[in-house]
Point group: C2
Chain length 110, copies 2
């Protein structure tokens, strides 16, 4: 995980576990956070591909605009559950999800 990404996470409320240290993640915690980032980013991409505003999208997934904004921002108050259900509601298949998740990195060149 590169530095830009770390910084982004800290701003989003990620302290994780109870590590006092500066985002010192265990491998599985890191994988978890990476995973969420991939899905957040995919979510925004998919929404924009469909030319939906956050408000329209919120209606589609039966949530609210504020929640959508937070989904896309990778906010720590959003669960993987919600991210995934939203992607599915957008029409993604499980295979699509697998592709999103399995990719190495996804355009966060640092």
């Amino acid at each position: 995980m590169n530095e830009a990404k770390k910084k982004r996470l800290i701003e989003r409320g990620w302290k994780i576990g109870s590590v006092e240290e500066f985002l010192q993640l265990s491998p599985d915690e890191a994988a978890y956070v990476e995973l969420r980032l991939k899905l957040s980013d995919s979510l925004r991409v998919q929404r924009q591909k469909k030319n939906l505003t956050q408000v329209e999208f919120a209606k589609l997934v039966k949530s609210s605009q504020s929640r959508v904004a937070k989904m896309e921002a990778g906010d720590s108050s959003i669960s993987l559950d919600l991210l995934i259900r939203s992607l599915l509601a957008l029409g993604a298949s499980n295979r699509d999800l697998a592709n999103m998740i399995g990719q190495d990195e996804h355009g966060t060149a640092g």
Copy 2:
């Protein structure tokens, strides 16, 4: 989704949405439930591969035996979040997850 699987789900508390009908799932709901099943099943496989009892495993992922049993049973009181964090705790990588999720079907011949 085949019939055996449906039956299994109904027993696990899956009514979803507020459909009165007999497990009449929309495509995205179906994909969501399928996804959970894949992860549940993988979880059991991975645990057994490591020769861990549910109790040992529970300790490893900082949960309880009852919760582990429910994870593996695909119980509706378990979130995707917990399933995925547990798989990661077991040592799975995001790529591993992608493989679990992307597979077509996985041995539920009916």
